[in-house]
Structures are given as structure tokens and as C-alpha cells.
């Protein structure tokens, strides 16, 4: 037991959790805490320019590194600015620990200056949340917050810190014990595993479908080994991109609304579908009645809520993806040798060739496919690609070949414009040795472009490639396709000049207009030792195709 202020106890507790970086922005209700951070040698605080940026940065940090990201704000408006970022992390199961100041305990409920009822606000959008009621419980709450964020199905946790709880002293114990944490590791149901093994061994057209859960449980090695053993092609969700190297001969790419056609056709045709850490989201499945209509479905997931929620499941396996896959592998290896489903593989291979997406366009203004192709030619497998939301995101998801898990970061469940740039910043802080590139739309980038100040000040050298169509492109696409081209409120006009915007912040800006120039300019950008914005004007009329209209069937794509 030592006597400490709450603020000091909090920082000591963060140290126990191995926190090295905090993204935040101070205010009145967190002054005691910022006073402790002022000369703390072990924790680097990165001052953002908007708290939404802090939340997304912590999220990007977590996705790139697998370690929890941490953000910190003042009470009231600072705390409410976290809302979108926290929900974004929740929808994509990203481990974030967010903390906010709160008005002093005795003023809570009095509509005090900058009071927001964050316990209620965060309740439906975080995995869990706390308010500190005594200084002595701070180490305990911090421990629980990190434990909850990082175990089971991961997710964000918010801690509300009344100002007096930071300033007051108490005898505290660090590290504290954890009294009750919900069990998150389940007994693996071997009978179910063997049922799955049976189905897979007999399958004539097996298919694996990997999601974010395969990445967060680091199950890539098992996933690939199983695919190879079965001779099963692998498709992914948006969140699953990178779970299998996408240049692997069995990898077919993403499924869904803007998925690869071969991937969607494989889902429609397979006779056994093994879902691994996926939640069968409606953007991925299309019309569930026609999703994998010929298949028995095996579903491995760590969250019972997801099993059977959206699609019928024949064999549910409640487990961490890595452990379940390892067990299925064991089970299969114990069986007598079996042939590869060669007919199926030949068919898929043929389709794959026929449907391979075209990227070699030479037009000016450039086609986005061409831009992605050039970006890909420069970046190695170690680069982390982050995306904004809209057409830019779906072009990246459709065409970009991701080679490693945690190297493709995108806002999946919430589809948050403005996520990409601050998330790229967080990813770069977590993995400074990697090149980090944000594939952005002009609309999305403007939603958090103020973080240019943060990346310049902190020398966080990320590159933003704006696929600039001067439109809210994805909305325009829907209006073009489903609302008789009545382009309502989607024209962004010709402002700003993104090169000048970058320069105003002290970043490097450049414009790329011709095919063949993207690659050299990106190479230069990665070498220039500054954050970079590349403004790349593209054909404003280009649509993301093929496409499954909302609620349509995966095997009936618009082309």
C-alpha cells in the first residue's frame, strides 16, 4: 500500500498495463491527470486536434499492433467527441481504453459546467464502461478495463474520472487484484469439432470464410494450414482481409456487396462453408436466404451472440478462432488421407482467371483501379494500408492485395468517414518501422484533416493518397444507380486545394495527374521524411463495380 493521488495511481496503473502512448486533448476536468503526465518518462502523450482523432488513432494503434490503444479527453464536449470513435471500435471489436475527465463527484447530476452523463452515453456503444467512485479502486478499475478490452471478443472500454478522484489521495495497491472477470475462454466442444471435421472431410466443394476474429486471435497460420490441407479456397470479409496472404493461390479475396465476383460465386456454390471469426454482416451476405444455399455452415466464433444471429448454422463452435482451427486441423490429420477436391479447385481457378479484375487503364483523369495498382507496386507486404470510407475504401478492398494480417485497416461495421487518417496516425505510432498509407476520398479526409497538425508536430510520417473525385462518391454512385442520376448534395466543388492544405500545415503536398506518375511520386513521398498528402484527381464518374445491390443475391452482381 502506498499513498498516492488518484491521478498518480492511474498513471502507475497504466504503466503496469505497459501503456507507451496516449492520444488525447486536455481540459479543466483532467488537469490533475495531465499534471502527472507532464513529466512522466514512460508514457508519450500525443496531442490531437480533435478528440475524434484521438479515438480513431487509439483504434488504429490497436488494430496495427494487437495491443490496446489508449485515448484521453476532458469532460463534457471532450468526452462526447469520443462517441463516434468508440462505437467504431466496438463495431469492429478493437481493443481501446478511453478515459475522460468528469466534473467533481459532488457536482455530478447538477448540470455542472462541462458535465455530460458519460456513463449513460457510453453504455450502449462500448463493450463496458466505468465511473470511478473512490481513489482506492482506480488500479482495480484500470486493470479490469484493460482485461475486458483485450479478452474474449475484444472491444472498447470507457472510464469516467471525476476530477476529485484524480486530485484526492488514498492508500492504493498496485498492481491490484482483479476480483471478477467474465470467463472468456470456453471449453472447446470436441463433439462439435469432430462434426466439423466430418463435414469438411466429406466436402466436395469446401470453402473457408475468414473475418476479423481470425486476425485478432492471430489464427493466420492455422487458417492457411487448414486451407492447404483441405484444398479449400478462402474468402474473407472486409475485416478479414490479410488473414490469408491474398496472393496465396487459394485466396479468392473479399466477398459481399463490392467483393470479388469469384469469391461471391464460390460462396453460392460451395457445399461446406467454414466461417471463422465472422459475423455474416448484411453487406457481406446479401440476401441471407440465398447465402451459401447449397452449403452446410460451420461457424467458429468467440461470441455466442453471433452464432445463428444472421444465418442458419449447422455446426456452431464457440471458441477462439486459433484454438478451434488447431483442433479441426488435428482432427483432420488424424483421418485417413483424402483426395483434394480437384474438380472444385479447377473450376474456381478457371473462374478466377476469367474474372480477374482489370486494373491497367491509361486514361486521364486516371481510373482509381490504375492508382491502386501503382500504389501496390510500390508498397511491399510490410506496408500498412488504411482506408477512409466510400468508393475509395471499396476500391482498396476489392483490388488491393494484402499480404499480412493487421496490414489492412478499415472502418467496417460503422463505415466512419474520417476514420482513416487518424487511424493511420495511430498505426504509424504503433508500428513506426512500417510504411503507412491512407487510401482516402476527398470527403472523408476533410472530416479529420485537422490531424495534419498532429502528424507534422509529432513527425508521424504517414502518406495520404486522396482518390479525388470532388464528390461524396459512394453516395453519388447510389444516386446514379438507384435514383436516376439525381445527384443530390454530393458535389464537393473544387475546394480545397489539397496540396496547399498540406503545405499550410507544414506537410509535403503534391498532385499526381497522369498514369505512371503515381508510383514514382509515392516512392518520393515515402522517402521525404515528412507527412505527405498526394492529391490524385480521378475520373469522377467511375463506379465501384461489380456490385450486389443492398439485399440482393451474391451471385447476381451488377457489372
Amino acid at each position: 500500500m502506498v499513498e498516492l493521488t488518484g491521478a498518480k495511481a492511474l498513471v502507475e496503473s497504466l504503466r503496469v498495463e505497459d501503456v507507451k502512448h496516449i492520444f488525447g486533448l486536455p481540459g479543466g476536468a483532467v488537469l490533475p491527470l495531465y499534471d502527472v503526465l507532464y513529466d512522466d518518462p514512460g508514457i508519450k502523450h500525443i496531442l490531437v486536434r480533435h478528440e475524434q482523432g484521438a479515438a480513431h488513432a487509439a483504434d488504429g494503434y490497436a488494430r496495427a499492433s494487437g495491443k490496446p490503444g489508449v485515448c484521453l479527453t476532458t469532460s463534457g464536449p471532450g468526452a462526447t467527441n469520443l462517441v463516434t470513435g468508440i462505437l467504431n471500435a466496438y463495431m469492429d471489436s478493437s481493443p481501446v481504453v478511453a478515459m475522460s475527465g468528469q466534473v467533481p463527484s459532488k457536482l455530478i447530476g447538477a448540470d455542472a459546467f462541462q458535465e455530460a452523463d458519460m456513463l449513460s452515453v457510453m453504455l450502449p456503444i462500448a463493450k463496458h464502461n466505468f465511473i470511478v467512485r473512490s481513489v482506492a479502486e482506480i488500479p482495480h478499475i484500470v486493470k479490469l478495463a484493460f482485461k475486458i478490452a483485450t479478452t474474449g471478443r475484444q472491444g472498447p472500454v470507457h472510464v469516467d474520472l471525476p476530477k476529485d478522484m484524480q486530485a484526492d489521495k488514498a492508500d492504493v495497491e498496485i498492481p491490484a487484484r482483479v476480483e471478477y472477470v467474465k470467463p472468456t475462454v470456453f471449453e472447446l466442444d470436441l463433439a462439435r469439432v469432430l462434426e466439423a471435421v466430418d463435414l469438411l472431410a466429406k466436402a466436395k466443394r469446401p470453402l473457408m470464410y475468414a473475418g476479423g476474429g481470425a486476425i485478432s486471435s492471430s489464427a493466420s497460420a492455422e487458417l492457411v494450414a487448414l486451407a492447404e490441407l483441405l484444398g479449400a479456397p478462402v474468402v474473407t470479409s472486409l475485416m478479414g482481409k490479410g488473414a490469408i496472404p491474398e496472393d496465396h493461390p487459394l485466396a479468392l479475396g473479399m466477398i459481399g456487396m463490392h467483393g470479388r465476383m469469384v469469391a461471391n460465386l464460390a460462396v453460392t456454390d460451395c457445399d461446406v462453408l467454414l466461417g471463422v471469426g465472422v459475423r455474416f454482416d448484411d453487406r457481406a451476405t446479401g440476401d441471407v436466404k440465398h447465402f451459401a444455399p447449397k452449403a452446410k455452415i460451420i461457424h467458429i466464433d468467440i461470441d455466442k451472440v453471433e452464432i445463428g444471429k444472421n444465418v442458419r448454422v449447422d455446426v456452431p463452435i464457440l471458441s477462439d478462432a486459433k484454438r478451434a482451427l488447431a483442433a479441426v486441423l488435428e482432427g483432420l490429420r488424424a483421418r485417413a488421407k483424402r483426395g483434394r477436391p480437384s474438380e472444385w479447385l479447377t473450376r474456381i481457378e478457371k473462374l478466377s482467371k476469367e474474372l480477374s479484375p482489370r486494373m491497367d487503364y491509361d486514361e486521364v483523369p486516371m481510373k482509381p483501379q490504375r492508382v491502386i495498382k501503382e500504389i501496390m507496386s510500390v508498397l511491399g507486404g510490410d506496408a500498412i494500408v488504411v482506408t477512409e470510407v466510400g468508393q475509395c475504401q471499396m476500391w482498396a478492398a476489392h483490388y488491393y492485395v494484402v499480404k499480412k494480417p493487421r496490414h489492412f485497416i478499415s472502418s467496417g461495421g460503422l463505415g466512419t468517414m474520417g476514420f482513416g487518417f487518424p487511424a493511420a496516425m495511430g498505426a504509424k505510432v504503433a508500428r513506426p518501422e512500417c510504411d503507412v498509407v491512407d487510401i482516402a476520398g476527398d470527403g472523408s479526409f476533410l472530416m479529420n484533416s485537422q490531424e495534419l497538425a498532429t502528424v507534422v508536430e509529432n513527425e508521424i510520417n504517414v502518406v495520404v493518397c486522396i482518390l479525388n473525385n470532388r464528390f461524396l462518391g459512394m453516395v453519388k454512385q447510389w444516386q446514379d444507380l438507384f435514383y436516376q442520376k439525381r445527384r443530390s448534395a454530393v458535389d464537393l466543388g473544387m475546394v480545397p486545394d489539397f496540396v496547399k492544405l498540406a503545405e499550410a500545415y507544414g506537410a509535403y503536398g503534391d498532385r499526381v495527374t497522369r498514369p505512371g506518375e503515381v508510383a514514382p511520386k509515392l516512392r518520393e513521398a515515402l522517402r521525404c521524411g515528412k507527412p505527405v498528402v498526394l492529391d490524385i484527381p480521378i475520373d469522377p464518374d467511375e463506379h465501384v463495380l461489380p456490385m450486389v445491390p443492398a439485399g440482393g443475391r451474391l451471385d447476381q452482381m451488377l457489372t
Binding site: 453504455l123 450502449p124 463493450k127 461470441d303 451472440v305 445463428g308
Partner: protein, 163 residues
């Protein structure tokens, strides 16, 4: 849609009730009754009664089980447990004749009169939800001034093995 009863064992701390009830609100499920009691262990037991189809009931069961502060969520089978409800009824001012009629009906239903002042009765009824519902409906708003209902309380039946 079938009536469901969930028994949720959870931490006894502020916000738990809100976390649980909002999972219903969000899915547009109306909670018909909700009771809270503290167990000898210090944990709280919340008993909820609501109507939902099978798919939704199962989904809600998983959703509640997932909550950090929930230790255990059980689906109660009314057949295999003792489920009771207590109701307090206050009548309007009644004629002598009406009053004695009500007394007879309450007693016949196994209830008892707790108080009577100036031809206003206060009575207590306990039993299964449907029986109480029937009495309250039969008396109706012409007779009843107000009612207070406990919601569902239950104990699991002991199995042979427990004894």
C-alpha cells in the same frame, strides 16, 4: 408470441439495470415485469417477464449473458419452477352490498382483506400471474381504484437429487 421469463444473476452496482433493459428497448421488446432482489451472496437477481418469438428470446439470452456485469442468465421454465406474484388492490368507495361481494370474491381467490376504511378495501392477492390477472380483470376499473404488482418472483423446484 410466448411469454418468457429470464432470471439474471448480476453484480449489484449502479447501471446494471439500465444495461439489461436497454438490450430490450433497442430491440423494441416491451418488458412486462421486472423485479430485483439481492441474493445472500450479495449479487443481485433480476427477473424479467416479456413476450418474444423463439429467435429473439434466444438472441436476448445470449446478449444478456455477454454483459460484463452479468454472472449468469437463465431461461426459466415455469413448469420446472415456482413462479409467483403478489398484488395489492385498492377499491373505490363501494356500496355495502358491492363491498361484501368484493370481499367474497377476494377470499374465494385465496386473497385477504388487509384494511377497510369507509367502504374502501385494500386487499392482498398472491399466486400465479394468470390467476391474479383474471381477478383484476374481473373486478375491473369500476371497482378498482389502484393496484400494485410485485412482478414475478420464482424459485427453482428442488430435484430429487437435491433432497
Amino acid at each position: 408470441m410466448k411469454t418468457r421469463i429470464f432470471s439474471v444473476l448480476c453484480e449489484n452496482s449502479p447501471g446494471v439495470m439500465m444495461r439489461i433493459s436497454r438490450d430490450f428497448t433497442r430491440r423494441q421488446i416491451n418488458i412486462d415485469s421486472i423485479t430485483v432482489g439481492i441474493e445472500p451472496t450479495g449479487l443481485a437477481r433480476i427477473i424479467l417477464m416479456f413476450k418474444a418469438d423463439d429467435h429473439m428470446a434466444e438472441h436476448l439470452h445470449h446478449v444478456l449473458s455477454r454483459l460484463t456485469q452479468v454472472v449468469d442468465a437463465e431461461v426459466i421454465d415455469p413448469e420446472a419452477s415456482i413462479v409467483r406474484e403478489v398484488a395489492l388492490l385498492r377499491t373505490k368507495r363501494l356500496s355495502d352490498e358491492k363491498m361484501w361481494d368484493v370481499v367474497r370474491r377476494i377470499e374465494k381467490a385465496g386473497g385477504r382483506v388487509l384494511e377497510s376504511r369507509g367502504n374502501v378495501l385494500v386487499a392482498e392477492l398472491s399466486g400465479v400471474h394468470e390467476d391474479i390477472e383474471n381477478v383484476v380483470k374481473a373486478l375491473g376499473p369500476d371497482i378498482l381504484q389502484e393496484t400494485a404488482r410485485s412482478g414475478q418472483v420464482y424459485l427453482g423446484r428442488r430435484t430429487a437429487k437435491d433432497r
